[in-house]
């Protein structure tokens, strides 16, 4: 009974968003239809929300009942296996709800766009793909969703493919550093996203294929015996396997040094940025890491002989996460573009999620919960902020931060939402993120106490303070201390306001859940610890200072430009790597292909034929004398070879005798 119901629910969950966006994709030629049909696409996501809630409230949570399997290629272990465990059921709701609110907002935001069919089709595909990633237990199925994310993000980031409107660019036109102009059009943003992501996806796909072999043909995350898998390939094998896997997660989640695509991804419509940054895409990397860690249970593997590889890998992830966290926060502090500032801060948050989840090797299960909850809180807060940013861009026709108190008075809902979202996100007591961040403080403090690792806690506190300042800066530059906007266009936008107001209100629900659910009881305990409280006060202080002084004159020159040029990381993406690539392409084309072509096709082959035919023609003189000579020549040759052969034969015979 429940079996049949379950598959109906899953089909509704995954397929309605896609199916409901097919009509608008097909009707791309008709202006009338493309204005009406977006509602259908939004309703499709609405169905997903209902399905995810239904799963949340009625489906089993414990293994093995929470696993649902349907044959795909059963002989080889590739199956459609879905799971509704603690992580998936929560994350599914988060994803669907966020996508739904953003979609409502998008009805207003994307009105009058030049290719609505493209936008809605990919937006819904994006949502469905993320849901597939969230609920998959089978790694191959998960990768199908993963590729869907990649393709859809490419489509959405490069949505305004005409590159004709400065509002869709990232970077300041004319800002040159050395040979590079730090300004990127949308079509480039899309290409950069897919090329970076693919750079990680194939190694990850390889890792999945390797797991497929090593786990004896089983691809279900919850069923693989990770311990014996790692033992089987030894330290080197474990490191190779996990690094390949992590390449996929790090590129998708834009961790250092793969973060550049995320910054230029801001060329997409703001709705896309909001979705990309909260519950899909960048969150996907961290989510998959959390999910894997949940089942690998690395805390049981620490200290087991032969499993040192796991320890190295988790240590590596811990530091990549922390460094990305600090990098993102610092870069954000130098940004003036609204969306890019938020993008940098997202990267920072995702880094902290990776770090917390990785710390579970030492701290245990609690650390994974911290990472997961931080992801949920961050998702709603960041999505709200992006939606506000989008509204501001509409209202001021500028992607750079601007707007003072007077402007804020006319944009009250946006102001309120920004204040709520930022304060709830930066970890000041006693707002939502404070409790989760306290958990994170506790985790890192644990590393300090029991394992004498000073750096993690230090980096975390530093990141938290800078992060808090960055968020306050966003508030201040747009609503308090920013310059007066050149244009103001304040009419309409009702659905936009509705979208972000709904979004931000969920933060209160999460606060309620933290205090009531039993899994998060430890967060509350951690929040009452003195260290957490001090860090929280620090965040509050940084917030207040930065809100009052959003731009430090003394810092704007040297570290300021260094941060706003993103520590010159674009050089890696836009200069060094393309130079190498184009050198190879140039070499191959101008020496390889021209060489082979020019040599074989126009010299060797025709020359050979010409030579042979000339020779044959030279022989055919028509004079009997010549032919006799040739025949005699051959006879002579034959005689010589025959006598040689005879001689050798005799010689051998003689030797034999």
């Amino acid at each position: 009974m429940i079996e049949i119901d379950a598959w109906v629910v899953f089909l509704l969950l995954f397929l309605t968003p896609v199916v409901s966006s097919v009509p608008i994709a097909l009707a791309y030629k008709s202006k009338g239809w493309t204005e009406k049909l977006p509602v259908l696409s939004v309703l499709g996501i609405g169905v997903s929300v209902l399905a995810s809630l239904y799963i949340f409230f009625t489906f089993p949570q414990e293994l093995p009942e929470c696993q649902f399997s349907y044959n795909w290629i059963p002989d080889l272990g590739i199956n459609i296996v879905l799971i509704t465990d603690y992580l998936s059921r929560f994350m599914g709701v988060v994803t669907a709800v966020i996508a739904f609110f953003i979609a409502i907002y998008g009805l207003d935001y994307m009105k009058g766009d030049y290719r609505p069919s493209w936008y809605w089709f990919f937006f819904n595909l994006f949502t469905a793909s993320m849901l597939l990633v969230v609920y998959s237990d089978n790694l191959f199925l998960l990768f199908v969703g993963w590729e869907g994310l990649g393709a859809a993000s490419w489509g959405l980031i490069g949505h305004w493919f005409r590159d004709d409107d400065d509002i869709a660019y990232v970077g300041k036109a004319g800002r040159k550093v050395g040979p590079l102009e730090l300004s990127w059009p949308p079509s480039f943003g899309g290409w950069r996203a897919i090329s970076t992501i693919r750079f990680g996806d194939v190694p990850m796909f390889f890792a999945i294929a390797a797991i497929w072999v090593l786990a004896g043909g089983n691809l279900n995350i919850s069923q693989i015996d990770w311990e014996s898998l790692f033992l089987g390939i030894g330290t080197a094998g474990t490191i190779i396997l996990m690094l390949c896997l992590l390449m996929g997660l790090f590129t998708k989640s834009a961790q250092v040094p793969f973060s550049e695509w995320l910054m230029t991804a801001m060329t997409g419509p703001t709705t896309v940025s909001a979705l990309l940054h909260s519950a899909t895409m960048v969150a996907a990397g961290a989510f998959v890491f959390i999910k894997l860690t949940w089942y690998i249970e690395p805390w049981h593997l620490r200290g087991v002989p032969g499993l040192e590889g796991v320890e190295y890998v988790y240590l590596f992830v811990l530091f990549v996460g922390l460094i990305s966290g600090l990098y993102g926060a610092l870069v954000g502090s130098g940004m003036l573009e609204r969306k890019v500032l938020l993008a940098a801060s997202t990267m920072s948050s995702i880094g902290l999620m990776f770090a917390a989840a990785a710390a579970s090797l030492w701290v245990g299960h609690f650390a994974v919960l911290v990472a997961f909850w931080y992801m949920a809180v961050h998702a709603f807060a960041k999505a709200s902020l992006f939606l506000v940013a989008g509204h501001l861009i509409h209202a001021t026709h500028s992607r750079f931060s601007c707007g003072g108190l007077e402007f804020a008075k006319r944009m009250k809902p946006a102001l309120v939402v920004t204040v709520v979202a930022t304060t709830f996100l930066v970890g000041m007591p006693p707002l939502t993120a404070y409790w989760v961040k306290s958990g994170m403080d506790e985790v890192m403090e644990h590393l300090l106490h029991d394992y004498h690792m000073v750096l993690p806690l230090l980096l975390l506190i530093l990141t938290s303070l800078v992060y808090s300042a960055v968020m306050a800066r966003f508030l201040s530059l747009n609503f308090i201390k920013g310059e007066k906007p050149e244009h103001e266009h304040l009419e309409g936008g009702g659905l936009m306001k509705l979208g972000y107001s709904l979004m931000v209100s969920v933060l209160l629900v999460l606060l309620f859940l933290i205090f009531t659910s039993k899994e998060t009881a430890e967060f509350v305990e951690a929040g009452l610890a003195p260290v957490s409280f001090v860090v929280g006060l620090g965040a509050l202080g940084a917030y207040l200072v930065a809100a009052k002084v959003p731009r430090l004159k003394a810092l704007s020159k040297v570290p300021g430009t260094f941060f706003s040029d993103r520590m010159y990381l674009p050089f890696l993406n836009d200069y060094i790597l393309p130079k190498i690539g184009f050198f190879a392409a140039h070499f191959v084309q101008n020496y390889g292909n021209r060489g082979i072509d020019g040599f074989f096709n126009t010299k060797v082959v025709p020359g050979l034929f010409r030579g042979i035919s000339k020779g044959i023609r030279a022989v055919q003189t028509g004079y009997l004398k010549t032919y006799v000579k040739i025949v005699l020549g051959f006879v002579m040759l034959f005689l010589i070879f025959a006598s040689l052969g005879l001689g050798v034969g005799l010689g051998l015979g003689g030797a034999g005798l």
Partner: protein, 504 residues
């Protein structure tokens, strides 16, 4: 023979018959007839994939060393066959407006030229279809030569640029390939006293010399780096519908021949695995890098074929899973490349012979339908969300099965990974260059539906093949074959059936 196998046999006969009948009709009717001649076998094959266990239809028997002529219907042939059918059927539709336009451009009489053209086209496609069902090397070789000659005639008479020179170039290179392969086949005949594949599969031997001949011939036809020089010319200058069969279907058939030979005797590949693999990877990466510098859209696609055929050769070296990967890679490349060549053709037809990429950019505005189809095509090449994903997955698994995950295998692992990455890089790079960026005109052009609807159908098939129920039956069927062929000989160490047993 029961009715089902009779039906399948008739379906195979259909395109051959139509090749001779279609010229009697007007271009439009002839096109529909050709379309039917390939779409019916397509559905028949899909049906048999679900219903019919592998079987054979005997034709005739010759004295040794030639042996029995028969048609074999197994999953490898099904996979290749259904690919050939769907692509040929769709390209037949695409060709209707395109070739009419081409004949007008050449100043010829449309009706009468179309008769010649449709005859050659149908014969060309039908011979490829028969090739993959041929159960004897001699029969297979005969069809290989028919494809060569018909394709040559099509390029020679309807190609672009210096088409006669290019036609000759193609003919000579592929004739050399054919002769080398024939020499290998003759050696196999004398070694085994038969050329019937079923007898050879059951314990036949292919000596190193014979293998070397077949291999040398087929890497010219495939082609890989070095002998690839004929391909960019032929693909670029052939009339687009011919390019759209030549690159997707014909060249990959070299992979088919290698696969059949490998299933008989895998020893050659095992002995020379490392050099062949290195050569294949290098060739593929070389082809991939070549793509970036091309200025002619069709030539660009031709170099991408070199890169993709490298995948096929890589797959050949990787044991049972690699061989399954080879079959899927053939399908995925065929779908992708036929879509892409047709989109290139669409641009040529709509934008008056436009092929120079430097003059493109922002084309999405004028021809969104073709632009989006090209995205589907490149997704196929990159193995994203289409059947190509399975192909890559099996090839990657082949790497692990053959070399393991150790420090010493790291080089090969990274090389194969990079090879796969490169396809998506050049694909989306090209899309951006051709279709996106500042448009020259935002006016949407009205174009014939024949120019894009067939492409989407191919694309949909390639997506459907990734998911159940099609992939379920097809992949499990393929798994059975390579398990029998290689597991039986103990190649690669891992019997596929053994893995299947572990799965709950």
């Amino acid at each position: 023979m029961d009715t089902l196998s009779n039906l399948l046999f008739l379906c195979l006969l259909l395109p051959l018959v139509v090749a001779f009948v279609a010229p009697l009709f007007s271009p439009k009717r002839a096109t529909y007839l050709s379309f039917l001649a390939f779409i019916l076998p397509f559905f028949a094959i899909i049906y048999s994939v679900f219903k019919v266990a592998p079987f054979e239809i005997p034709l005739t028997t010759f004295s040794p060393p030639i042996g029995e002529f028969y048609l074999h219907f197994d999953f490898i042939s099904y996979a290749f066959g259904l690919t050939i059918c769907i692509v040929s059927a769709m390209i037949a539709l695409f060709a209707l407006p395109y070739m009419k336009h081409r004949f007008e451009e050449m100043g010829r009489e449309v009706e009468s030229e179309f008769r010649k053209y449709i005859f050659l086209y149908d014969l060309y496609a039908a011979s490829m279809l028969w090739l993959v069902f041929s159960g004897n090397f001699v029969l297979l070789y005969v069809f290989l030569e028919i494809t060569l000659i018909t394709a040559f005639l099509l390029i020679y008479t309807y190609g672009y640029g210096n088409r006669k020179w290019v036609g000759m170039l193609y003919l000579i290179w592929c004739a050399v390939a054919g002769v080398l392969t024939l020499a290998g086949i003759v050696l196999v005949a004398f070694e085994n006293d038969t050329l019937a594949l079923n007898v050879l599969m059951a314990g036949g031997k292919v000596s190193t010399l014979a293998w070397a001949f077949i291999f040398a011939g087929m890497i010219i036809e495939l082609p890989v780096l070095g002998p690839h020089i004929w391909l960019p010319w032929a693909h670029a200058e052939a009339p687009t519908p011919v390019s759209a069969l030549l690159s997707p279907l014909t060249v990959g058939l070299a992979g088919y021949v290698l696969l059949r030979t490998a299933l008989i005797d895998y020893s050659f590949i095992e002995t020379y695995r490392i050099p062949i693999l290195a050569y294949a990877i290098f060739s593929s990466i070389y082809g991939g890098f070549s793509v970036f510098k091309q200025t002619d859209f069709k030539r660009l696609l031709a170099y991408s074929t070199v890169s993709q055929m490298g995948y096929i050769l890589v797959a050949l070296c990787l044991g049972p899973f690699g061989l399954i990967g080879l079959v899927i890679q053939y399908m995925s490349h065929a779908f992708g490349k036929s879509i892409l060549f047709s989109s290139a053709g669409g641009i040529i037809a709509v934008h008056h012979g436009l092929r120079d990429i430097n003059k493109m950019g922002g084309l999405h505005d004028s021809i969104p339908a073709i632009s989006n189809a090209a995205v589907l095509g490149f997704l196929n090449l990159g193995g994203m969300l289409t059947v190509g994903m399975l192909g890559e997955f099996f090839i990657l698994r082949g790497v692990v099965e053959t070399f393991g995950v150790t420090k010493s295998s790291l080089g090969i692992i990274l090389a194969v990974i990079f090879m796969f990455i490169l396809s998506v890089w050049y694909g989306f790079y090209t899309i951006r260059k051709v279709f996106y960026g500042k448009p020259r005109s935002t006016k949407r052009l009205e174009i014939s539906r024949y120019l894009y609807v067939p492409l989407y159908i191919i694309g949909i098939v390639s997506v459907l093949l990734l998911f159940p129920p099609l992939s379920t039956v097809l992949i499990q069927g393929l798994n059975l074959i390579s398990g029998l062929g290689l597991g039986g000989l103990g190649v690669g160490g891992v019997g596929v059936g053994g893995v299947g047993g572990v799965v709950p």
